[in-house]
């Protein structure tokens, strides 16, 4: 009966992910002036030029109005631009500004630094274990 095992694992998984997420957010806030959603939007738009607000909402896992506000907020800070989508005028096409790209690169550099430092102190076996488990986690939460 693996039901009990699954239940315990599920609880531990929830708690571990929430804890890790909070810790990462704290690191980011200390180093960078980007919130987690803003950081994720920069990453996403960098990989997906001319995406729509809908695309961003879907990626973040939030409602459309929420994504709309985040995008508008970042546009006001000159991190993103928005243009009309030629093919479908209901949509907007979102892209990174030069500043947006620069901030993304800085953020990535700094955000990953603390984690890299800690990773450098654990053994290779643990790291590959972790790496493999991320695929499983992604599968569970997609």
């Amino acid at each position: 009966m693996s039901n009990d095992f699954d239940e315990r694992l599920a609880e531990e998984l929830l708690e571990s992910v929430f804890q890790a997420s909070r810790t990462f957010r704290r690191w980011m806030r200390e180093d960078i002036s980007l919130s987690v959603p803003q950081f994720r939007v920069l990453s996403f738009v960098n990989r997906n030029r001319d995406c729509s607000v809908e695309d961003v909402a879907s990626y973040l896992g939030v409602s459309k109005p929420t994504a709309s506000k985040i995008v508008e907020n970042m546009r006001l800070k000159n991190l993103l631009y928005r243009t009309e989508n030629g093919e479908d005028r209901r949509k907007v096409s979102i892209g990174l500004t030069g500043k947006g790209l620069k901030v993304l690169e800085e953020a990535r550099l700094k955000a990953v630094l603390e984690l890299k430092n800690r990773l450098s102190k654990i053994d290779q076996q643990s790291k590959s274990l972790l790496s493999n488990s991320l695929k499983i986690l992604a599968e569970l939460t997609k």
Copy 2:
């Protein structure tokens, strides 16, 4: 040179944890009327009777005013009670009300359900891999 490996792992780790956190939050919001911090506070207070606001802040990884507001908000909803701490009158002693305990149990039941369902569909080896990696993750983010 494991520097590149660490960097890639760090980025994947950030993204996986943020993604998983957001997905869990979405599941919780759909099923339960508790936010993630509220859920975590219920769990924590249940395990740590007569804890202080400081303890809650430390557990959540947030500032004291933030913890204070969350606790006050939950007190107004009759999920928690707060009494004077006899030994140190600067502190408050926080505890679960009957309603708080009931809500926690319901929440835990429902929050874990979706995850359990998904866990039941993956093989045992993946599950133990995941289980082991949570310890490493906790180590990295404590």
